[in-house]
């Protein structure tokens, strides 16, 4: 049995058996990469691995920013609006603006249809 190395020690314990030493499943990352663009036919090497780490950093960053907004509102529950605010107030998250606004619109439409 391997002793915990740099990676196993870094990441949360107990998940290494499922996704390897990465927090996010590489196969899923590859699938999303392929579907994002038809021109990307083959994904080789360490691309999903780097993406796994990049996604982790991304989640951490957006969570931090959203949580700061939650704290400003003196709340303890991080809600979707906090995420949306974090996206809107962060320039590098501009590509997500449509996503968070579409989600809000679809939610409103669902509430309208249910009423």
């Amino acid at each position: 049995m391997k002793r915990p190395g740099t990676y196993s020690g870094i990441l949360s314990g107990g998940i290494s058996g499922r996704t390897g030493p990465h927090l996010l499943p590489l196969a899923r990352i590859k699938k999303i990469m392929k579907k994002s663009n038809d021109d990307v036919k083959m994904i080789t090497g360490e691309a999903p691995i780097v993406f796994s780490k990049a996604c982790e950093l991304f989640i951490e960053e957006i969570t931090k920013r959203a949580w700061n907004i939650t704290l400003q509102g003196k709340r303890r529950t991080l809600c979707k609006e906090d995420v949306a605010s974090a996206v809107i107030t962060t320039d590098i998250f501009d590509f997500l603006v449509n996503l968070v606004s579409d989600s809000a619109k679809s939610e409103e439409s669902q509430l309208t249809t249910k009423a």
Partner: protein, 219 residues
């Protein structure tokens, strides 16, 4: 700044779900004929699409909880939103890198292009930790695992008129100064805000090679 290619916007890949599914991924529990392209709010169809399009929500939550204090709570819609954002992030970087390759008439999406994308789009804070991460992965797993997918780690050969490769040749990266949003890389080069260090990070900070692997409780 372009946001995605010309396939109906960046969200195009959600609406057009090809029937073919790559092997090696978790097979959806629903039969394949359920995986047709609609934007209905049917929960069954949404479940099938989510399995293909998004990161597992449990993994996303796990990463979020590393950042948040223990008393913090996360609403379900916030989890789902971030889950969607991650997929958008992956597709965004991939598409932008691919577009750049096409503009430069290159067939290979190399690590340099990926780097450029991260930097251009403002994710330059990611570059250094990603570089270190990749190097450490190669040191740790290069001899034991080889390629996770059974393919060579580096694939340079490009057939004319063929596909776009996403590969990362071992290129020495310059250690660009980063703004330290994630905190300065500690001794192990891993990015984490020390003020929010969780148990995993504590383990990182003090990696003890003599720590027994069988750390499970012995009942």
């Amino acid at each position: 700044m372009e946001l995605g290619g010309g396939n109906g916007g960046f969200h195009g890949y959600r609406r057009a779900m090809p029937q073919s599914s790559s092997g090696g991924t978790k097979a959806p529990e629903m039969p394949p004929q359920m995986n047709h392209t609609t934007n209905t709010s049917d929960d069954t169809e949404c479940t099938v699409r989510e399995q293909d399009r998004f990161m597992p929500i449990a993994n996303v939550i796990r990463i979020m909880r590393k950042i948040l204090p223990q008393h913090a709570k996360i609403s379900d819609d916030a989890k789902e939103t971030i889950q969607e954002c991650v997929s958008e992030f992956i597709g965004f970087i991939t598409s932008e890198a691919n577009d750049r390759c096409q503009r430069e008439q290159r067939k290979t999406i190399t690590a340099e292009v990926q780097e450029t994308r991260y930097s251009f789009e403002g994710f330059d804070d990611y570059m250094e930790p990603l570089t270190l991460y990749l190097h450490r992965y190669r040191e740790y797993d290069g001899g034991e695992r080889g390629s996770l997918t059974g393919e060579p780690l580096v694939k340079r050969a490009v057939d004319p008129g063929a596909y776009g490769y996403v590969t990362f040749p071992p290129v020495p990266f310059s250690m660009a100064p980063h703004h330290g949003f994630f905190g300065a890389p500690p001794m192990n080069g891993f990015l984490k805000d020390p003020s929010n260090a969780g148990p995993s990070q504590a383990a990182v900070a003090g990696i003890d090679p003599s720590t027994p692997t069988h750390s499970k409780k012995q009942v």
